[in-house]
Amino acid sequence: MIGLYLHIPFCDGKCPYCDFYSMAGSDSLKEEYTRRLESLLTEWEGKLREKEGSYKADTLYFGGGTPNLLGASRLARLIENAQKGFLLENAEITLEANPTSRLDAFFEEMAAAGANRLSLGLQSAHEEELRLLGRRHTARQAAEAVEAARRAGFRNISLDLMMGLPGQNWEMLQESIRFCASLEVEHISAYLLKIEPGTPFWQKKSSLNLPDEEEICHLYLSACEELEKLGYFQYEISNFARPGFEGRHNLKYWRCEEYLGLGPAAHSYLGGKRFYYPRDLEGFLAGNLPVEDGPGGSPEEFCMLALRLREGLSEEIFRNRYEEEGVFLPERFWKEASLLEKAGFCRIEGEEGKRVLSLTPRGFLVSNSVILELTERI
């Protein structure tokens, strides 16, 4: 069962921290783009069926950009198209949207078209932070958007938060977290702000008054704790959910499962290969082919991804997956893991042969180094 990702590269403005691929788009461009996605869905469905027999998807994710800018009817067409070729019943169909006002009708149409999960880019509950981030909504509007979504029947709503913002302290972040919880959403994604090259934030990096590393660590660890207290379990480095409401689509990335991504800058992992469509809307519309991005699913990659999850790296799953290649998790790996465990970076649960290794929030904070230490020993 694969995941489907459709990238909607349109925004009505560029936020100064964002380096995702997006642009303003005219109505005719959006129509042309939708048609291109439709024909690609058909094309890929045919190709996969021919090659692999049956290929089914159980998640569909509209990411962006700002997917709601495509308009409800075009999104509905895409859902319908995907459903025909790929989607089973009970699929998770997620739509990213900006929590602006007057979304009632849009949400209703989307719910009717089959969308069942919303991911709203709140980012902060503080007006001054939202202004600094160049967001074009207020916290009040976001609350209204959540209510509108509820009225439209959405039972699975996620809010995005950003941590480590310029001038942010724990009290402010805590307020933003509590604001989300007060809206009783099922899921919260909390990301550390990363200043990306080429963004306006990068250019004025030094004058941004960013919290220092110690403070960022404090924010992150406190947020993990607070969210846990409020009933949101950390199931991934940056993702928290009420039990049963983990994002199924994103879980596929971390579990090293297959997904097909369509749209410029959308990535795929199918048949052992990773590939992507380049960040080039014109080329994409002109029919450019995806670019190979090397093999995927190596043991190291599997560990790297699994260790982002609270469920962690399972000795058993690893064995089942890589036994044939003669790769296993050797004792030196577990020895290093238990050193790291003593230092509080991870935990080892279960008995030998069925051990599960997972990182703690402190371990997540230095996960690159921890993962390197461990994968070096495979």
């Binding site: 990702y5 960022i216 990535h267 790297m304 230095v366 993962i371 390197l372």
Partner: protein
């Protein structure tokens, strides 16, 4: 023999770096038509890339030329180039011993420098006729008359007739040629006497074996002769002998007294035909060797390790090949807990060490790590036993040491007077004992210090240059041993001694050096998952401490559109960085950290 002995002129060129020795040599080659102009590569005598880049001569080179003089006669010029650095003083003295004269090149704008003076005295001591030449007269700042007086005052030889030339512009080179003919006496020697041939250079050739450059004092040598090395008694059969022409060897049936040429005899390594040794014939041996032979004695030692442990055999092979050509290079295997398998290498001096390191890296493409250079210390144990130590690892427990001695040098620094203060300060910092100071002329002095060798092997030369804006020059010779208050300083990372960072030092210098090293290491060691204490200690006593704080944040928080590859690439980049690290216990130390502590005076 083609030319009678009285038409032979054997000479060297003595000059300070940059004073134009190689350029003058090129002009002489041109004037003797030894090389067609189109074949000339700039500075022909400096063969090695390194030599050309640094503008110094590391090996002696020699060439036989024919000069058609103004008196209508043809003269044979044997030009023997000398190495231009104190590390190779002995080689210089052997090259000079092969000559009857020396052309002294002095820069018309800079005057006499330490190196020039030291080598000129060597030449005078060897009984050579000095032919002074004032070069670079085309420079706007040239003051040939002042330099002329300086030569007379400082060296004490007449300079009235010294040609004022520009080797670069080719001005008055003919005057130099005529002075060589006029002033330098032809060689003496008896072809009928037993063979005595002085080796002034030797190098390894893959086809012919070692090629010894020789000056025949007495006797003759021919292909087929059995020759004997007088220092070792080893015998070889001559396969070829001849002259070194500018672009090729010219085999001949006989070399005779007074001549300069080469001998090949299927000799496997240069250590069997070392510079300074005398070759004689086995069938009619000379009763004694020529004076002045000295077995090569490495003075400076350091550990050399491959950055990648798997390259150990390559390193060994490279050192073996270099040694074929360099009798002064010694090496033996050593093991370091920190750096694995490597070699303890011995060198004539710091430059020699740097040259070898560079050649390993450039010519053999090896990535190497070197440990701090050490000199040879002499330790008298409480048991009365005297041992010598060139590796800190072997330093005995302090309780077993009755006394320790370190090698000293007699150093001369030549400088414009304005830098005297800076230089004295530097020498004081380096535990120097002031001897005397003499004025060379109104604005330049010769400062004479007694300095411990271990104070000048690190970065003395660089420090001297930077404190005198490059104007001072420096020369030293070894001057015995002296009692010294030495200690062994160890560096501990996370509580474990890193043997490759240990060194022997004077106790007064230990604190400041320990502090600098700890700070430098703190800068160079990246933060890791665990805190890394850095401690410097003498015996069990900690005298400096720094801490590399634990890494706090190293995470890729967001995943964009399923782009796993980006994450993977970032991790791979990090992994590449890790590969360049040495794992010492639980601590990862970058290769640069080992090298960075060698240069602390910045």
């Amino acid at each position: 023999m083609a030319v009678s002995r009285d038409k032979i002129r054997n000479f060297s060129i003595i000059a300070h770096i940059d004073h134009g020795k190689s350029t003058l040599a090129d002009r002489i080659l041109e004037q003797t038509s030894a090389v067609a102009l189109r074949d000339m590569e700039d500075q022909l005598l400096d063969n090695m890339d390194l030599e050309r880049e640094r503008g110094i001569t590391i090996k002696a080179h020699a060439v036989t030329l024919v000069y058609h003089a103004k008196d209508g006669e043809d003269y044979v010029f044997n030009l023997i180039d000398t190495p231009g650095h104190v590390d190779f003083n002995y080689e210089v003295s052997r090259s000079l011993a092969a000559c009857e004269g020396a052309v002294l090149v002095v820069d018309a704008s800079q005057g006499i420098e330490a190196q020039t003076l030291a080598n000129t005295y060597l030449a005078v001591d060897a009984g050579l006729e000095i032919v002074p030449v004032i070069n670079k007269i085309d420079l706007p700042s040239a003051d040939p008359e002042k330099v002329r007086r300086e030569i007379e005052d400082v060296i004490g030889i007449p300079a009235d007739d010294a040609p004022a030339v520009s080797a670069k512009a080719g001005i008055h080179i003919d005057q130099v040629m005529e002075q060589i003919v006029k002033l330098i006496p032809p060689p003496e020697g008896d072809p009928e006497a037993p063979l005595q041939a002085l080796i002034f250079d030797s190098y390894y050739d893959a086809y012919k074996g070692v090629i010894a450059h020789v000056r025949l004092k007495d006797g003759t040598v021919h292909p087929g002769d059995t020759i004997r090395m007088m220092s070792t008694g080893a015998e070889f059969t001559v396969t070829e002998c001849g002259y070194m022409r500018a672009t090729k060897f010219e085999p001949v049936s006989e070399l005779s007294a007074g001549e300069v040429g080469y001998i090949a005899a299927s000799i496997k390594a240069v250590r069997d035909a070392t510079v300074g040794d005398t070759i004689t014939r086995a069938d009619n041996p000379a009763s004694s060797p020529l004076p002045g032979y000295r077995p090569v004695q490495p003075m400076v030692f350091c550990g050399i390790y491959p950055a990648d442990g798997a390259k150990y055999p390559d390193l060994r092979e490279a050192l073996e090949k270099l040694q074929l050509n360099d009798a002064a290079l010694s090496f033996e295997p050593e093991t370091s807990v920190a750096l694995g398998f490597g070699f303890r290498c011995g060198f004539l001096g710091l430059l020699h060490m740097e040259v070898i390191q560079e050649r390993l890296e450039r010519e053999y493409n090896l990535d190497i790590i070197t440990t701090a250079p050490s000199v040879i210390y002499r330790i008298t144990k409480t048991s009365g036993e005297v041992i010598t130590i060139d590796n800190p690892t072997n330093y005995p427990d302090p309780s077993l040491i009755a006394s320790a001695e370190e090698p000293m040098t007699n150093a001369h620094i030549y400088t414009p007077t304005e830098y005297v203060g800076n230089i004295m300060e530097l020498c004081q910092e380096r535990r120097g004992v002031f001897k005397d100071m003499t004025y060379i002329d109104s604005d330049r002095v010769d400062i004479h210090y007694r300095l411990p060798l271990n104070e000048i092997i690190y970065d003395f030369f660089d420090a001297l240059k930077s404190r005198t804006r490059g104007y001072a020059s420096f020369d030293y010779e070894l001057d015995g041993y002296e009692k010294s208050d030495l200690v062994k300083l160890d560096i501990m990372l996370n509580g474990e001694i890193v043997d490759a960072l240990s060194f022997i030092i004077h106790s007064e210098k230990a604190y400041s050096r320990a502090r600098k090293m700890a700070e430098k290491l703190k800068d160079k060691i990246p933060r890791q998952l665990f805190e890394v204490p850095i401690q410097a200690c003498i015996g069990g006593r900690i005298i400096a401490r720094e801490t590399v704080k634990a890494l706090r944040k190293d995470v890729l928080a967001k995943c964009y559109g399923g782009d796993i590859t980006r994450k993977k690439k970032l991790l791979e980049k990090q992994k590449e960085g890790k590969k360049r690290m040495r794992q010492l216990g639980t601590v990862e130390v970058p290769q640069e950290a080992f090298m960075s502590v060698l240069k602390l005076d910045e």
